[in-house]
């Protein structure tokens, strides 16, 4: 064929290797735009070759006695390569989506937090709910640093829409209609809270690893300053633990 050192499908195999690596090391690798484009180029080239091959092959379907057309095996080869490449491309993207969703759930659905993770040392001590500008402490979660730069623009869009869809689901299904103020989320069950382990007890000892300002809890307002320790109700601070502001001590 045209290329000397490479077979069709080599590039796509590289894509798959990346996916496997990503799973094996539990990290999110950077979106490999160059490689994806290269595979897509190969697809176009293959399609052209395929069409040429089809045009060259006379139609012998009507005549069952005719010897098999030698061009058919060429066509089959191209078609197989095309199918495989396409499958690899889609698998690569679908795999990334799964990983992104994992990350999304791991930070308790705090999308702004996820996207801005490890933004350069922003010491924002705002409200706890305004987590948009707070960096994720590196040690708190296996979530990799600087997620945003590893995503393709389409993936950011996907996450945004996904977030919106889940929000709609939650408002549709699990919010109590009795809430007095519409602004506050009034869920009976916080879907985003972790489901790894059932709760052991009501309260939890936490160590503050990052300032998160004054938070209103059942015992009153607590000013979470870095390095301090508190004994608080788990339900009050669950989201802060998930997002990496507090650590269970």
């Amino acid at each position: 064929m045209s290329s000397t050192t490479q077979q069709y499908g080599d590039l796509a195999t590289q894509l798959l290797t990346e996916s496997r690596r990503s799973t094996a090391t539990d990290t999110l690798l950077k979106y490999n735009d160059v490689l994806v484009r290269a595979v897509i180029r190969e697809q176009r080239q293959l399609e052209a070759l395929l069409q040429a091959g089809l045009a060259a092959a006379p139609d012998t379907d009507d005549d069952p006695g005719a010897p098999p057309n030698p061009a058919l095996s060429t066509v089959l080869l191209y078609q197989t390569a095309i199918n495989r490449n396409k499958r690899c491309l889609l698998a690569y993207h679908a795999h990334r989506i799964e990983r992104l969703k994992d990350l999304y759930w791991r930070v308790g659905g705090a999308l702004p937090l996820l996207l801005s993770m490890a933004a350069p040392a922003a010491q924002t001590a705002g409200q706890a709910h305004d987590s948009a500008h707070a960096p994720q402490p590196a040690a708190a979660a296996p979530a990799p640093a600087d997620v945003r730069s590893k995503l393709s623009p389409h993936e950011v869009d996907f996450l945004r829409s996904y977030n919106a869809s889940l929000l709609a689901l939650r408002t549709d299904a699990f919010s109590s209609a009795t809430a007095a103020d519409p602004g506050a989320p009034s869920e009976d069950v916080d879907l985003m809270a972790p489901i790894d382990r059932p709760p052991r007890g009501l309260t939890v000892h936490v160590r503050v690893v990052r300032d998160c300002g004054v938070v209103h809890t059942e015992q009153g307002a607590i000013d979470f300053r870095r390095g301090h320790r508190f004994l608080v109700r788990r339900g009050d601070v669950e989201h802060l633990i998930v997002q990496g502001y507090l650590e269970e001590a």
Binding site: D157, L169, A173, D188
Partner: protein
């Protein structure tokens, strides 16, 4: 007055008999929370999406809400005794545990719904198992995924290669669907009518028996609540 309801509530819906007792207890005696636990385990073990337990969930959530309100009320009452405080704590802990199961149940369903979103959109028979909100989410998610794949990959490919529903011989279909052949462990909660195994023989599971079968064999029994997955 506080005493009476706290006692009643602690005994009734949540603090049920342990797992071992549960296996031997009668079906009719299941409390709502035990039912939820059973549906939760079924859902977690089943490859397919099971019928959603909206009514049960609603009942439990109503109860949780009521108890939380009562707890708030009691905590605000300065006259409550030390012993009452201890009971309040127990109730609160129990509420948290119930919430955990509810959460896990919903999330398990959600995971499967997203996994099979495109199959759900294309299969009307699966719709009745989902709540309206879940179905909406499944549709949105299927659209979202297709849109994303189109944007990232398919639109750059030649027009002949853009379909998301190819069926190529010897390749798995492009729309993932639940694998009903997957083996599951089932525990018979009562005497079951005979089911046909893949090799053609039939077995009737008596109460308490545990078997390993492909999921589709026990699908109907599970839907009727005669068996549970473990």
């Amino acid at each position: 007055m506080a005493d009476s309801w706290l006692n009643a509530d602690l005994d009734a819906p949540y603090a049920g008999p342990s797992f071992v007792d549960r296996a031997s207890s009668e079906v009719a005696e299941e409390t709502p929370f035990q039912q939820l636990i059973r549906h939760w385990m079924n859902e977690r073990h089943s490859p397919d999406i099971l019928t959603g337990q909206e009514i049960l969930l609603g009942r439990i959530l109503d109860h949780v809400r009521k108890q939380s309100d009562d707890v708030q009320l009691l905590r605000a009452d300065p006259d409550s005794s030390e012993e009452e405080h201890f009971r309040i704590m127990l109730v609160q802990t129990e509420v948290e545990r119930v919430k955990f199961v509810v959460r896990s149940y919903i999330r398990t369903r959600l995971h499967k719904i997203e996994k099979y979103a495109r199959w759900i959109s294309a299969t009307p028979e699966s719709h009745e198992k989902l709540s309206k909100a879940e179905l909406d989410h499944a549709r949105r998610y299927a659209r979202l995924l297709e849109y994303h794949l189109t944007q990232s990959v398919l639109q750059s490919l030649p027009p002949e290669q853009r379909s998301l529903t190819d069926s190529v011989p010897f390749m798995p279909p492009m729309i993932p669907e639940p694998d009903k052949m997957r083996p599951v462990f089932v525990h018979a909660r009562q005497q079951c009518p005979p089911v046909r195994l893949p090799d053609g023989t039939a077995i009737a599971m008596e109460k308490g028996r545990i078997s390993l079968t492909p999921y589709y064999v026990v699908e109907q029994l599970l839907a009727r609540g005669e068996v549970e997955l473990i």
